[in-house]
Symmetry: C2
Subunit: 316 residues, 2 copies
Amino acid sequence: MPKFLIAGTVAYDSLKTPQGERPRILGGSGLHAAVAASILLKKINLLSVVGGDFEPQYLAFLQKRGVDLRGLKIIKEGQTFAWNGFYEKDMNVAHTVQTALNVLTQFDPVLPPEYLDSAFVFLGNIDPALQTKIFAQLPARKFGALDTMNYWIDSQKENLLKAIAETDLLFINDAEIRQLTGEDNLFRAARVLLTGRLRYVIIKKGEHGAMLISAERIAIVPSMPLDEIVDPTGAGDSFAGGFMSYIVEHASTAYPQDTPLSAGGMDWDTLRAALVYGTMTASFNVQGFGCEKLAEITKADLDERLKVFREITRIS
Amino acid sequence: MPKFLIAGTVAYDSLKTPQGERPRILGGSGLHAAVAASILLKKINLLSVVGGDFEPQYLAFLQKRGVDLRGLKIIKEGQTFAWNGFYEKDMNVAHTVQTALNVLTQFDPVLPPEYLDSAFVFLGNIDPALQTKIFAQLPARKFGALDTMNYWIDSQKENLLKAIAETDLLFINDAEIRQLTGEDNLFRAARVLLTGRLRYVIIKKGEHGAMLISAERIAIVPSMPLDEIVDPTGAGDSFAGGFMSYIVEHASTAYPQDTPLSAGGMDWDTLRAALVYGTMTASFNVQGFGCEKLAEITKADLDERLKVFREITRIS
C-alpha cells in the first residue's frame, strides 16, 4: 500500500444542532478526513498541530485507528484550535459563535522524514500558503488533492490559486467555485480551473450530492437519502477522506509505484467509484456528532449502504 | 393507447434571460406539458382557455403535434393569460414583472364528452379548486398527477390538500413541500403527504435533479449537466409532460385497460424510467426560449441524450 498523507486541522468543536449539543468534541478537517480514511486503510500519516490541552485518550483513539502521529505536533504551552458553532433547521448553513485559532497560528507544516515519500496526499482546509509549502516537500507525489473554503477565496485568492496549481484534484463546493471563478455555470466554472496539473474538480453540493469533472468527462452522484441529519460538521472532510482512501487502496494495485499518475491521469472508473465511496462515508459522518458515527462503522457498513444506494440511483 | 388529458394554462410569455429576450411567445403549464408529451405520444387531450388574441398559427402548431383542441376554450372577447418576467444570473429564481390573468379568471374546466374516458391525467399548475373539479369529472381515471406552486400553498392550502387527496402522484418542488408540510427533511415531508390515494411524490429540485418517493421506495436522478441554460421557463411542466408521456406509452402495454392502477400502484421500474425521461425532456426545454427547442426534437434526441446521461450517472 502506498503512503498516504493527510494534512489539516485537529480541533475541539463545541456544537449545537437541532438534534442536541456537544461541548469540546474531536473535530477539524484533518481529523474528520483521517477517521474517514481509516475505515478502509490500515495506515495514514497525519500532519497537524494541537495544544497541551489535547487529551491523551484522543491520541490513543487515533493511534488505534492506524493514524501515524509523528506529524502531529503538540505545542504544550498552547491550546488546541477550537470552533464553537451551531446549526438551525437548515443544516446547510453553519453559524459560527467563536473561532479560536490558538496553536494553529504557529503551525509550521514541516514533514517528518518518514512522511517524505507519501505518494498520495490530501490537504484539508487550511491556509493555502501552508498547502503550497506541504506540496513543495513532496516533489515525487503521485496524486495530490486539496480542499478549501470561502474564507481563503475572500482573503487569499492568489495564494489559493498557487496551491491549486500544485494539486491534481480540487475539492470545492458549488458556492465557492462560483465565487472563485466568477462563472455561475458549474461545468464552465470547473473548466476555467482545469489547466496545468489540475485534472479533476469535485464540486460538493451538500444534500444535493457531488460532481466529478475533468476536461473530457463528468460523473454525478446524488447524496444518500437520510431521514435525519444529526450533525453536518465535517461532512465534506469525511467525503474527501473516504474518496481518497478508495483511491489509495485501488491505486496500489492498479498503478505500479513508479508510474506518476499525474502524467497520465487517474483511471476514470476508479475515480467514479471513489466518488460513491466518499458519498457513503459522508452519509455516516452526518448521522452522529463529530466523528462518533464514523468511528463505529466498518467497510462492511459502507458496502451494505452502497447496495441500497445503487438501487436508489439505478438508471435502467 | 389510453387517452391522456393535460389541463393547465396556455399563455403568452414575455421573457428576458441573460441569453436574450422574447415578447409574447407560447407558454403556460398546460402548453409546456403538452408540447413535451407530444414528443412520445401521437394524441393528447388539452383542457385550457385562451382569448381572442390567440393566434391561429399557434392553434395549427398544436394540432400538428397531435394536441386535441376540443377542450381549448377560446373566449373571443377576452385576452390570453399573459406573464411578463425575467431571470438574472441565478436562473433558479423567476422575477415577475406582471401577471395578467385575463381569460383565466373565467376558466370553467368542463370536459368535452370526448375527454370523459381519459385514463391518464396531468393537471398542471392552476387553481386547486379547478383541479378538484376536473378530477371529479373523471371518476374512472387510472392515474392522475398534479402539479402546483407556492402561490396556492400560501393562499389556498385547504383546497390544495383536497386536490392532492384525489391524485395518485404529486409534482412539487423542494421549497414548496417544505412549506406545505412544515417538514425540512424532504423524505419525511413526502411521507407526511403519502396517505389515501396519493402513492407517489416527485420532488423537483431544478438544477439538482428530482426524487421519486413512495411509502416504501426512493429513486433519485440528478439533472442533465448543461453548459448553458437559455430559458428555464416551463422546465417543471415539460418534465411532468415527459414523465407522464412515458407512463402513458408504457402503461398501455403493461396494464390492461380494466385494471385500476391506483388500486395496485404503478410498476416501480416504469416510474423510475419515466423520471429519467422527464429529466431528459426538461433538459431540452431549457435549451431554448419557451418551447422552441422541444418543438424541434424527436424521441431519438431524447434517447441519444439518455445514453450520455447513463454514462454520467452510472454507479459501478
